[in-house]
Structures are given as C-alpha cells and as structure tokens.
C-alpha cells in the first residue's frame, strides 16, 4: 500500500518537524512518534544488523539513597547530543556519538530533583521527557520535575530551561504543580505533579500537563502555559479538568504530553469519577482541543459517560495525524478502545473496534483501569498502537503484548493493516513501551528488555497471516466471519538490560537511542 500525503498537509508536516533530530517526546509537536527522514534505520536490508554501539550507565555515585537510576523519561536528541532525565533526579547530556557525559543537572553534590510525595515511577525523580527550544538565541533543553527547593519544599513541580550546550540554568519556572501536604488520601491537600507529561513548545509558550500521584487522592487536572522567554506562568491561559479552577472538584488529570498545532492545543485527560456526584463541567476521560491563548475548550470528545467511568485514565496522549483524509487526532484510551477524531471539527471519524459512542450500561463494555497507556506512532495514514483490538470485550489483557497497525483513512472493514504479538513482551500489565516509526520500520521496547524492529508489509514481506480476531485460529478465521491480516516481519530483536515500558526509542541522526528502567542509555545502529 502506498502512503499518501495530500498537498495542503505538506505544510503541516513541515510544521510538525522534518527534523533529522528527535527534539522532543514523540519527535514533534503533533506527537507523531515518527521520523520521516530516511537512514539505515528505515532500510529493511540494513535493520537486521542493528546492534548496540555504546552504553551509558548512570554512575552509582549520582544516585542518593531511596531513589532509582532507572529512566522513565525518554531521550531527546539534538545536534549530536542526547538529553534524558533519570529517576535519580538528574538530567544527563551525552555525546550522541560516544555516550560520554557532557554535563549533568543538577551536578553532584547538589541535591537531585525529587519529591517527598512519591508512590510510583511517575513521581520519582525526572519522569518528564525533555523538549528543545530556542531561548534568547540559545538552544535550550526544557523539562519538568519536582523540586524540594521551591514553594512548600515538598517537591512541587516546575519547569527547568537549561543551556543545551553547557547545562547552565536559563530559568526555573514558577511552580506549576502544587504539593501542599504529604498525607495519603487527604482531600484538603494538593498532591499535583507533572509526572510523565512532557512539555511542548508552541510559539512563545510551553504547555505541560498536571495530574496526581497514584489517585491518592485524585487531583484536579490542569494544563499550564509557561512563557518561553522567562518561565513565568501565563495566567491568561486556564484549563482545568473539572469544574472551575478554584472549586473542589477533582479529575481530568493530564498524564501525558499534550500536542500543539499553531491554533490548537490537544490533550487527553484522566478520569473524574471517584464516587462523588459528577462535576460540571466534566472534562475527564476526554480528548480535547483547546484555544492556545485562553485554554477555552474548542471541542471535546468524551466516549465514556461518568456513570461508566471506572478509572480508564486516557494516559496515551493525542497523536495529531496529517492524514490524506484530513487532520485527525487519534489515541487509544486505557480501556483499550482507539478513537479517531476530526481535529478541526471534533467529530468522531471512527472507533476501533467499531462501537456506538458514548458507551452505555447495557453494551457489555467495561471501562476500567486497564493498561493501554502508550502513545501510538503515525506514519502517513497508518497509526501503530497498543490497543484492545477485536477482543477488547472478551480477552482484554491479551492485547498488552500486541501492536496493531490501523489504516486511519480506510473503511471499518479495512481498518486493521497488521497485527503482531511483539517478541520479548511478557504479556503482563506493563509489556510494551511506546512505538516509534521511520518509513515503515517500527521500533518498540519490551518489559524484558528487548528492542524490536518490525517491518510494515509494504517495505518488507510479511511473515505470515493471522486472524483479525486474535482469539480465533487462523484456520477458522474466515469461516468465523473474520478476515486474515498480515503478521509483519520482525527484522531485529536486540537484548538490552532493563525494561523499556516507559520509554520510546528516539530515531535521530541515523541512530537509535533507548533508555531503560535499569538506568542505561543505549545507542544502536545497523
């Protein structure tokens, strides 16, 4: 199948970033997760020789007691340098060619960036992937982290802008995520965090999401707008997940990186039903487009009604796709359902598997705290995602180790492009990281420390066929009313040390960069 791009969308693609670098989480402001520049990493004849060329391990001396050197943030790569924040509360700048440390921030013996309120990897050290921007004519690396030196001294979240060349501070933002106490379950304290949300730079503003720590308890979700030049908060932009920003309602946390496109900010939000009456307005469990100046909601897509909200936080952020059938915002919710929304109008294009939206109490669906949390990758009209698939209501967890490639502009009958059970994924609740793609070659990490390269059947012959309903044997597929779909070839399967479930592989400058839960950063190339 040919990948088609419409002429009007070429400009948007340029805006999305044709960078050979990987300057932010998911590569660009649309959160595509794709590298359109060709290299050996997009050459199916070269990919099988993919191998580790250098390894960086976080020095033990950098990690204070009680913190982990594991990486939950993903590397960004710009002008021959790799930038990645560690669970030990330090950001590392590495030479992309050798892995040598260029600088670290804060450099020991300075205290690491950390919070006193921690409960899972999102709140330990730096979990927010960085973004590259220009500030005052200087390349800057911007990231979010908790900081014991500001506000309540409990680890309130703020953004940091550092000189990308030297690591010198350009600014530290005002507090964007409040922590006003350490009592688990307290409904009178604020327990906000930036967590996994990666900042996105659009024009002269930086947008970053705010959520809670482990629903302990659930907090009011926010998106904050910070001025690029000095790190002050732009209070003319306000978005809160529920009610008004000043009331006591909770929910709608923004767990992931938001996307930006000139006149729109796109986000997905966490749940809001914690057993209390529904707040008004309720922007929880939604995909949203916001006015970038004011934060006003331009459109909202909310497939799960409040009464069915059993905590399927929409943790995979939006992927704004410049597809041949228009501008789409596509994402898979934690419950395993994938939705494609017209990014201009907010109307739903399709849901996979097909469903009547909103879901109802009698449709047999369950919308709970399942683990479809990873952002998808976009390549032309193809969206590669971890999704529940046709077994979403019957065998939900089988999807945890599986990738689907979906044709976003096709009819429902032709939606599935291929399906693969990723080798080296255990099938447990956290099995896969977020996939990335370059010209039809998909890279994804697993919980057992495998980095796997998969070839779209249009660039390398498929390995075989399997049933679109993955619970149906291939031999019975057609007779059971389903179609056969390709099972793509695995071109490489490289062993790394440590899980990659929180991390994406950055495809930059002809190299692949992966950070793992064991505190290692790898550079690979064929």
């Amino acid at each position: 199948m040919r990948i088609r791009f419409s002429v009007p969308l070429v400009g948007l693609m340029l805006l999305a970033g044709c960078s050979q670098h990987w300057p932010m989480y998911r590569h660009n402001v649309l959160r595509s997760g794709g590298q359109i520049n060709g290299s050996d990493l997009s050459n199916p004849a070269r990919v099988p020789s993919l191998a580790v060329r250098w390894t960086f391990s976080v020095p033990a001396a950098d990690t204070v007691s009680g913190m982990s050197p594991g990486f939950r943030a993903s590397p960004v790569v710009y002008k021959g340098r790799v930038y990645v924040g560690s669970g030990n509360g330090r950001l590392y700048a590495l030479d992309a060619a050798t892995g040598a440390v260029l600088w670290k921030y804060p450099a020991p013996p300075a205290a690491p960036l950390r919070s006193q309120f921690t409960c899972n990897p999102s709140s330990q050290g730096i979990a927010s992937s960085a973004a590259i921007a220009r500030i005052g004519g200087v390349d800057a690396v911007i990231f979010g982290a908790p900081d014991l030196s500001v506000g309540t001294n409990l680890g309130e979240g703020r953004l940091f802008a550092l000189n990308a060349g030297t690591g010198a501070e350009i600014w530290k933002s005002q507090v964007v995520a409040r922590v006003t106490g350490l009592t688990s379950g307290s409904t009178t304290q604020l327990h906000q965090q930036i967590g996994y949300s990666s900042p996105v730079v659009s024009g002269q503003r930086i947008y970053v999401g705010v959520a809670d720590h482990c629903d302990n308890p659930i907090q009011k979700g926010r998106i904050m707008s910070v001025r690029l030049n000095d790190g002050t908060i732009d209070t003319s932009f306000t978005f809160c997940g529920t009610g008004t920003c000043g009331d006591s309602t909770r929910g709608g946390g923004v767990w992931s990186g938001v996307a930006a496109l000139g006149n729109g900010v796109f986000a997905t939000t966490g749940n809001s039903n914690n057993g209390t009456p529904e707040p008004s307005p309720n922007h929880g469990l939604s995909m949203l487009r916001l006015n970038p100046a004011s934060g006003a909601v331009t459109w909202k897509f909310q497939p799960v009604p409040y009464s069915r909200d059993w905590d399927p936080d929409w943790a995979a952020g939006p992927n704004v796709m410049t597809a041949s059938c228009g501008l789409l915002s596509v994402s898979t919710m934690k419950d395993g359902w994938t939705h494609a929304i017209d990014a201009n109008s907010g109307t739903r294009r399709w849901t996979f598997p097909t469903a009547t939206i909103p879901f109802t109490a009698t449709d047999g669906t369950v919308h709970g705290d399942s683990r479809f949390m990873r952002a998808g990758a976009a390549w032309g009209d193809v969206f590669i995602t971890m999704t529940g698939g046709l077994t979403v209501t019957t065998n939900l967890s089988s999807g945890y180790r599986r990738l689907h490639a979906l044709n976003v502009c096709a009819s429902n009958a032709d939606r599935i492009r291929w399906i693969l059970d990723v080798p080296g994924a255990s099938g447990g609740t956290y099995s896969l990281g977020a996939p990335t793609v370059t010209r039809g070659i998909v890279y994804v990490g697993t919980d057992t420390g495998r980095l796997v390269a998969i070839a779209d059947p249009s660039v390398s012959p498929a390995a075989g066929w399997r049933c679109a309903n993955t619970d149906v044997p291939t031999a019975n597929c057609v007779a059971s009313g389903y179609t056969l779909v390709p099972q793509p070839a695995v071109l490489a399967n490289v062993a790394l040390a440590g899980s990659m479930v929180y991390n994406e592989a950055a495809i930059a400058e002809g190299r692949l960069f992966a950070a793992t839960g064991s505190g290692n950063v790898y550079m690979l190339r064929p």
Partner: protein, 126 residues
C-alpha cells in the same frame, strides 16, 4: 534573590487547603441481569428454581470491601488488576481477565491498591 524571597514568602504562608469534598463511595454495584430460572423438570427430577444474577461490582482504589456469596459466584476481574482477594482465608492475587469461583456462603474480600477494580459476578443460587 527573587527566588529566595519567593521561598521565604511561601514558607511563611499557611499551606493552601482545598475545601473538603463529600466522602466518595467505595463500591458500586450494577445489576446487568437477574432472574429466577427453572432448571430440570424431567420425569425423574422436579423443576428446580435457580436465581441467577449478573452484576458488575466496582471497588474504588485504596479500599477494602467484601460481599457474601448467597449462592455460588463465578467472578471475573475485568479491569484494575492485579488485585488481592481473600476467600475462606485464602489470599490470592488476581490478574485481569482471570476467572475464579467463590463457594456459596463464603465471603469474597477484596483489597485494591492504586487502581479501581471492576469485577463481573455471576451468582447462581438455589
């Protein structure tokens, strides 16, 4: 210096309090199906009425909750796993999609962690 001043001001300012909100419900139950069925009715066996119900049982995060099985329960954890269950003193960690059986008269206790657990419960009661 500005930051130092901000820090001093913050330290002197009373910690921000949020207005308390109503206590949330720890569990909810939705009945999907409930009916008395007549099973059997052969020459050798008189028809036996069986009460059959299908429910969704939701236990919010950080909760301990229990239900007493009037009849036999066939339970599936649909979301929010892994979750610890205790039946007749036996603790077990349940994964998503896992089925398990609770004998009639037993108590099914559930302890949730960070996540809300959703169970589908089929009960068959004489």
């Amino acid at each position: 210096m500005v930051e130092l001043l901000v820090g001093v001001v913050a330290a002197l300012t009373p910690v921000m309090q949020e207005p308390a909100q109503p206590q949330p419900q720890a569990t909810e139950t939705g009945v999907r199906f409930e009916q008395v069925l007549s099973i059997g009715g052969t020459a050798a066996l008189a028809a036996q009425p069986l009460k059959v119900s299908l429910r969704e049982w939701v236990v919010r995060n950080q909760q301990k909750a229990s239900i007493t099985a009037a009849g036999v329960l066939v339970v599936q954890l649909r979301a929010g796993g892994p979750v610890v269950t205790v039946v007749n003193g036996q603790r077990a960690e349940r994964k998503e999609d896992e089925f398990f059986v609770v004998p009639a008269g037993a108590v099914l206790a559930v302890e949730t962690g960070q996540d809300t657990a959703v169970f589908t419960v089929l009960e068959v009661q004489r």
